[in-house]
Amino acid sequence: MVNHDCTCKDNPLVPQLCKVIKITQETPDVQTYRVQTLDGKRPFTPMPGQLGMFSLLGVGEAMFSVTAYGEDWIETSIKKTGMLTDAFHEMAEGQQIGVRGPYGNHFPVDPCKGKDLLFIGGGIGLAPVRSFIRYAFAHRADYGKIDILYGSRSPADLVFKEDLFDNWPKEPDTAVHVTVDRGDETWEGNVGMVPGYLEELAFQPVNRKVILCGPPIMIKFTLQSLLKMGFSKEDCITTLEMRMKCGIGKCGRCNIGSKFVCLDGPVFTMAELDELPDEM
């Protein structure tokens, strides 16, 4: 049985009450929530890529990637896409929410040891990637050169700006490459889609793992570019999204073939995805 941190230690379906201690407005429609238990502790200790079930009592519950954690908090970033996420965006700091988890598998942090890492994020897809980026920096000696390639629709849609422009570029042997589909009068960085910029940057497919998350269309074309550049599908790692309710492989709906995304995922290599039915 897997360990989990919930209100009831023997019941993974009952959340613990936590409080939102900090809200960061990332973009007009993305917010990051820093959450801790009512007695000031970290709700649980996730591995990079793992999921948490976050609930607003009386409104609903949904699964989100846990994008970061600290000594006494975890963070998740939520984009407005419907009724529940709209309600999340109306929260104020101090509000209590339900949290259960962590769920699912995680990025292969051990098999990636000793390798160069190329993180690629598109839009809100940087959220799951961020957890591994932070982990890699926390275990800096375990990994080689780190490149972070991030693209969003416009400068206003860039998430984790503090990380992208202040924190991460200061890390040793690290390069951050940011691109937007359409610039504006103040934007001085690269303009163009992720796949094109990726090819321009000409990363070598030698001793390098790629961690890739973003909207399906971006994944599709970025993967084509990566394959063209000589990367293998085994070396390209991504996360999947499906509708989830229980988070523990019981309620049925997030299956792709015999795999449950909440339990066996969300992290898969592109080679593993090829083995699954095409139903995503």
Binding site: T7, L13, L57, G58, R243, G249, K250, G252, R253, L263
Partner: protein
């Protein structure tokens, strides 16, 4: 040991002290289900099969998970409910279905606490089939109408009553309780054969997954109306939804049966649906039953009870599908 027919009511009365007894019951002329024993009449053990399976005893159609308060100081309180119950007269197919649900809810990395608590307090007394119904096909799915290996206790028909075979500790306890009501002797009647047959095989299970894009899925889905009858009457369908009932400031989080045949089941918040039409949904249901579950848990998720065949509004028939696929893909037994 044999329990004579005239001793059934006394036996049930003894059992009633251990918990609520649920027996096959005709609710009205159209519907039957496992309902509390009335305490005096002999259960109708000839019902093949009850319209509703006994699964709701372990996995209620709707089940409270926790109560919450949002007004004032927010709070959560887990709902714990696990009444002592005895399922009496469960057919071999339904007994196997409980085995399937155990695999899901009691294992595979997490234990489901709601199910586990109920399960621990339920005793399953199975009853062999003296006769089968027109849509029964359990013997094509690796079961026998005369056996229910995962039941706590098995009652096998004899000419004058039932042979009593305890199969677990819980079963031993029941047998001990009945010790003064049972006697040596009696011979189990031969098992009847199902009249409906289908050509399911391990090889076909594997082939079906590899034929994910085959036109056969288009062909079989047409007549489907996309209702939830097959899934809700199925003894092994265990999918659920989690939802809440809010009364302003307080409420209850509950789970309830859900159906993979409904569009909302997989539709994501942004509107994308990986299984957008009845073709994808029916394909997923059939593959889950016949292949995916076996890949994951080692057995088929269809026990051949025939409820879906008997109650489908469009008369879709999973046995006809299996045989069509076996013939087309050359994977007969």
């Amino acid at each position: 040991m044999q329990l004579k027919r005239e001793n059934l009511i006394p036996a049930l009365r003894l059992l009633a002290a251990q918990g609520e007894i649920l027996v096959p019951t005709a609710v009205d002329e159209k519907v039957s289900k496992f309902a509390p024993w009335d305490g005096s009449s002999a259960p109708d053990l000839a019902l093949v099969n009850t319209t509703l399976p006994p699964k709701d005893t372990l996995f209620p159609h709707q089940e409270g998970m926790y109560r919450y308060k949002t007004a004032g100081e927010p709070s959560l309180e887990e709902i714990v409910e696990a009444p002592a119950r005895i399922l009496f007269g469960v057919r071999p197919c339904d007994a196997r279905s409980i085995d399937c649900m155990d695999k899901v809810f009691l294992g595979d990395k997490y234990e489901d606490a709601f199910y586990a608590r109920r399960r621990a307090n339920v005793t399953v007394i199975a009853h062999t089939c003296a006769q089968t119904g027109p849509t029964c096909f359990c013997d094509s799915m690796g079961l026998s109408p005369a056996e229910a290996p995962s039941a706590d206790l098995l009652l096998s028909d004899t000419e004058t009553g039932w042979l009593v075979t305890a199969q677990t500790e819980k079963g031993e306890a029941v047998a001990a309780l009945w010790k003064d009501l049972t006697a040596e002797g009696g011979e189990a009647a031969p098992a009847p054969a199902c009249t409906l047959k289908t050509n399911m095989s391990d090889a076909l299970a594997g082939t079906l997954v590899s034929r994910f894009e085959d036109p056969i899925w288009d062909e079989v889905c047409h007549a489907c109306l996309g209702c939830g009858t097959c899934t809700y009457l199925c003894p092994t369908c265990y999918c659920f939804d989690i939802n809440h009932e809010d009364h302003g400031g307080e409420g209850t989080q509950f789970r309830c049966w859900d159906s993979c045949m409904f569009s909302d089941y997989t539709r994501m918040a942004g509107g994308h649906n990986p299984r957008p039409s009845k073709k994808e949904r029916l394909r997923n249901r059939y593959l889950h039953k016949l292949a995916y579950f076996k890949e994951r848990y080692g057995q088929i998720l269809c026990v051949g009870c025939g409820r879906c065949v008997g109650h489908c509004p469009s008369h879709l028939d999973i046995t006809a599908f299996i045989d069509k696929a076996a013939e087309r893909f050359g994977e007969g037994k």
